[in-house]
Symmetry: D2
Subunit: 397 residues, 4 copies
């Protein structure tokens, strides 16, 4: 068997902002024999995970589960609702927004990409302006990333919804919740989102390999007219058999076992408690960054991500040598800077299956790494984090 | 945790023609902590599984690994090589050929579908005729299913290649190897296939969730002109980073652990020995069917599938009640009749992680089921199978 | 990791009469992180498994769980109730009775060993005679093996109890239930047994490593006077903390996880159904042996073991070459002849986590093995077994 | 399945000084199907683990593996070498030395128990004096605990050996290495130990359930005369079959799988590197304790345990409420005070599968716990530990 950890001793700290640390319970659930995906037991499994995902998306409407990565669910959201040449409005919140835009363009869509500095969330006022200016209702969809995994900045989805409503604009609202679902409060139905896109390997605490679309009535109706070619991603084939718990092609059965277990864990903790836990750990992390005298990438306190924190390196110091040193010496993986932030930031994931002491170990690793790499900083980050943990919203019990 | 087997005792016999019984070693490999898909250990894993899959496809050319079901790899083969309105020649070998056709049409391709009776493989002469008739070289691709999982009939891929060559026709040859790869001798390169499509849950002994394209040089060149919209499936993004063992979006890491282990198992047994084992078990199964006085669906001995055997029910007896009885009483899942064969056949999977005694248990279950369901048959199937096992090609050691 | 199966493909058939095939659910339960054996969660686990084992032994009295093999529980039964030089009455039912006797002698006990032919259970009349003759009540304990794993013969425990009662003899009744508990009806309390000895790796479907004593009030009282030196095995230390679910020294925590799961499985199936299942499989196995024209070792139909069947080899044919051939060719482990039965019998285990099709595979392996090894026999064993399965007591549902 | 962690999220910190955190690799190894303990594959497994354990004990002589807890291996060491009424010299290093003494007395041995204050290791001069005074050579064995798990104090075994040698005394030297083996340098052969006693659940990183005796030639010879009754523990039965890799009664097969993997991990890291890692983590832990202004229980710097650190509570503050608070709030298990130290100390385990960041998380949990519980202390423990980690012997790579 492949030796997966070059470090001789102790548990790896997987503190990238996803894939996250998979709970033992979920791994063991996945490690059960595969069953007949057309048999009665599978039907039960299918119905339960589909119902559970509605809870997690906070919607009564349908959720689609794909055997695919999150990128596939991005594609699915677009091909099910749009036609070749359709105009979509997107906002440059960071690397993943940029990738989604590129994907849309490769599918033959026209994209208006509102520029951003990668340090703020979506500017709802700008969206509103663009929509008001679009009197012809040329824009078919507005696509927004709820939590930019590349920057640690969240966007205000209800504000974007309000922009659409205020403009009386019929465009669909498509939201990427890949790194927010199961970590940050997200309400597909109450917030009036038309398609929510997500993946398994973040707040859902699963390995990668499943992705999701939650769908509104309007999106479903739009799917009837959409003319982008689609087959694998087609919602209609899914919905035709999902009510009995089945799938139109072979599903990723063992990952669905894990999903069943992960949903049970989220239910047991309680979604509000899960969200509070993430906020608390993010607060403590920012306290550490501040104590180190370093800068959080996100410039808008309202946009601080509860799921991850991106930290700017001081001028003249690369993030990648620091990350390599921390991996080599402390057996911790941190997220790299992506796209134009390459080597300029590192990202601390504090989402998923996580707790106070793992956070402390994580921050201690960063602090020791900063020292060992000769990165200018003040010590005391871990102490500041501990102080914050002591007074912040108490952990869910 | 979901109780996955309603039977109180003993191991389930998963004898559908896939997903197949996953070896304990593979399940345990999957049950390892997820790692950073951008870290050095992942690169090693990625390189090793990509190299291993070339061995399994018997090619020196590139293999693409998707976090997706086999249906996705069908779609990938088409969207990477074809343009809207392109003409493809397909052959109706059974339900899966029919589904692939439907998928092609939904992607906007024009399909000529050579009719078939679901009891024979592809008629290479008919293909040849169609190609010769196509003087304008309108046909862009010929799509064939190597082993029709819905019927237990294989098609002669070298004969189809010869038809193309003899006609001097430039169409690409696309072959579905979903239920043959790792079970039935299949040679992507030597047979001159342009795109081979496969999945993880059959001869590769993995849970579903991974699928594959093996690609020829010509297919790669064609991908540069192909204009069907594509993003998730785009080979070029994959190939750009695969050489270092990475993937352009988050891969299904834990299933890749399993793939690594499954490749090691196939290597340890030896591909020729794996293929011989499957032939031997298929022979013994057909001996049982013959002894029962029942009819194997496949009418052409050259097309008998080493991976599964489909058995026709006597007139007036439904296959589905028999399958239900066998599931309820003997805790064995058999494959159902699909499409127009619904309720008329049952399919015995004898592929993947399998051995003589599991085959005997399987055939005993069918024989006891036939008796209990009152299906007219002669006893002695299991005895005939055992006799055949005694003289057939000995098992690999 | 050690490669545990030299066979390249398929699941090993572990048909020795123990250790038995461990269910995936139990293995996965064992594969959970070890916890603090003095913490609150452990207490809950401990209380639940201790209560569950009382159900399995069919007693309201205490059950002791040792981190040890069954041999340890034999020793525990003796050292907790007897003093140096005490006289115990034992019966030679086979190899394990002989080993228990040897163990008793090594502990300094005087053993009267009623001779037996290894083909019958205990002769209760002989026991009765010995007890009646012992007017001085010199005999301190009667030790009997309920199911002789070396021979496949059960003994009538209520008859032995009656012999004690009829003789008005105060000797304790100690019973080895190692290969009967969880497979064959056994009632510690109703049958008036004083100490029942058992192990984890048979009907309890666990790996080896746990063993048990179920204890009567009388045995407990006797423990106060017993003077054989004891520490590790001392019931009193156990009982002092077991009520809170704890143990006096570090318990085998992970095996206890498995025990928790195994108890849940036995409860779900129901003990009467478990016992009926074993009887049915034993019947079918004997039908096969009879059809082969071979001889079941057990000569008394009342003593036929529901858990295993020992088969005598024809004169001039060794059992061990047959077993080796079956292991090499069919990847099945059968039990060897022990002690004076070495090479003269093979033993088929049909206990634990088992079902009809696994039995059929097992018997097919034996039948093919007999043929391949040139052992004189008639074919048709598997057919006879299938016929019996069709009419015998239906499987538990 | 039993829910084993009441905490809703994140990995439990099991920082008792054993059972320790079991590596995923070891758990997965244990989660493999049980095999025939008399088959050829088992023989290979048995030979490899027996050879591996000789490396771990640093001896060329035999090692015995029991399916039992460490307490059983204590008993085994005594019953194999001593006779009823024999005189043994023991030293009161703490709770476990006291328990071993009690066990010896219950086996009928006469114990001279050199008193100790539970804050120092064995006083070799006192041992020497006792041996010199014993001109009649009445003392049959000297029993010493290498690393007192209850106090975090190690004893100087070579000094005890020297005391025996200097006195020309023939008593055997028996050493408990339960919490030192695989964590602290220990040399059975070079140090002239006669019987070394150990267990699986500490430095060997396994669940509890296996224990060990390493044996000198002299001890083996003594076993021929020893007259304490023994059967389960008898070395001779073990040695008679161990050379082929088998055991005289059913071994704990699945735990042996884990042992095989754990030995491979120790080999990969290297024993000297393992020992250095433990020393380094102990140093950092003591730096934290000192920074808190608390007192390490061990009063002799030469006796500081590399495996665990026991911390004295300030007067008027109980350790158990602190431990409970830390368990409830931070999901970390710390070791309790045992025997006369009950509620007066807590013990931090830093042994086994462990690394820098887990240590930091652990110490952060203690520091936050001290604050939350209102225990007088200075902050800065974690900072002191990090500073020490930065300069101490670098981690093994």
């Amino acid at each position: 068997m492949l030796a997966l950890n070059r470090h001789p001793s102790g548990r790896h700290f997987l503190q990238i902002p996803g894939p996250t640390n998979v709970p033992d319970r979920v791994l063991r659930a996945i490690d059960q024999p595969t069953i007949d995906h057309r048999g009665p037991e599978f039907g039960e499994l299918g119905r339960e995970v589909l119902a559970g995902m509605r809870e997690v998306f906070q919607t009564r409407g349908p959720v689609i589960i794909y055997p695919a990565s999150g990128t596939g669910a991005w594609e699915a959201a677009l091909v099910n609702t749009l036609s070749p040449g359709d105009h979509v409005l997107m906002a440059e919140t960071g690397h993943f927004a940029t990738l989604w835009r590129r994907l849309a363009e490769r599918l033959g869509l026209r994209v208006t990409f509102l520029p951003g500095d990668w340090r703020h969330g979506v500017d709802a006022a700008e969206i509103a302006a663009a929509l008001r200016a679009d009197r012809a209702h040329d824009i078919a969809a507005v696509c927004v990333v709820h939590n930019e995994t590349s920057t640690g900045v969240t966007s205000d989805i209800p504000a974007v919804r309000a922009a659409l409503d205020d403009a009386g604009h019929p465009a669909l609202l498509l939201v990427d919740t890949i790194s927010s679902l199961g970590s940050i409060d997200y309400r597909h139905e109450a917030w009036g989102v038309d398609v929510s896109v997500s993946g398994s390997q973040k707040g859902l605490m699963l390995p990668p390999g499943l992705s999701f679309n939650a769908i509104s009535e309007r999106a479903l109706a739009r799917a009837e007219q959409a003319r982008l070619p689609r087959a694998y991603w087609d919602w209609r084939d899914m919905l035709a058999v999902n009510d009995k718990g089945y799938f139109p092609y072979t599903p990723a059965t063992n990952l669905l076992y894990g999903l069943h277990e992960a949903i049970a864990m989220l239910r047991a903790e309680g979604l509000p408690e899960v969200f509070a836990r993430h906020r608390r750990h993010a607060e403590a992390t920012r306290a550490a960054v501040e104590a180190w005298g370093l800068e959080v990438l996100c410039l808008d306190p309202n946009g601080y991500s509860p799921a991850l924190t991106a930290v700017l390196m001081p001028e003249g110091h690369g993030a990648d040598p620091l990350r390599k040193l921390i991996l080599d010496r402390f057996d911790m993986s941190l997220g790299q800077g992506l796209g134009k932030l390459s080597n300029r930031i590192f990202r601390i994931g504090h989402l998923g299956h996580f707790n106070d002491l793992t956070l402390c170990g994580t921050l201690a690793g960063v602090e020791m790494g900063l020292a060992a790499a000769g990165v200018p900083h003040r010590p005391g980050g871990i102490a500041a984090a501990m102080a914050r943990l002591a007074v912040a919203e108490p952990p869910a019990r």
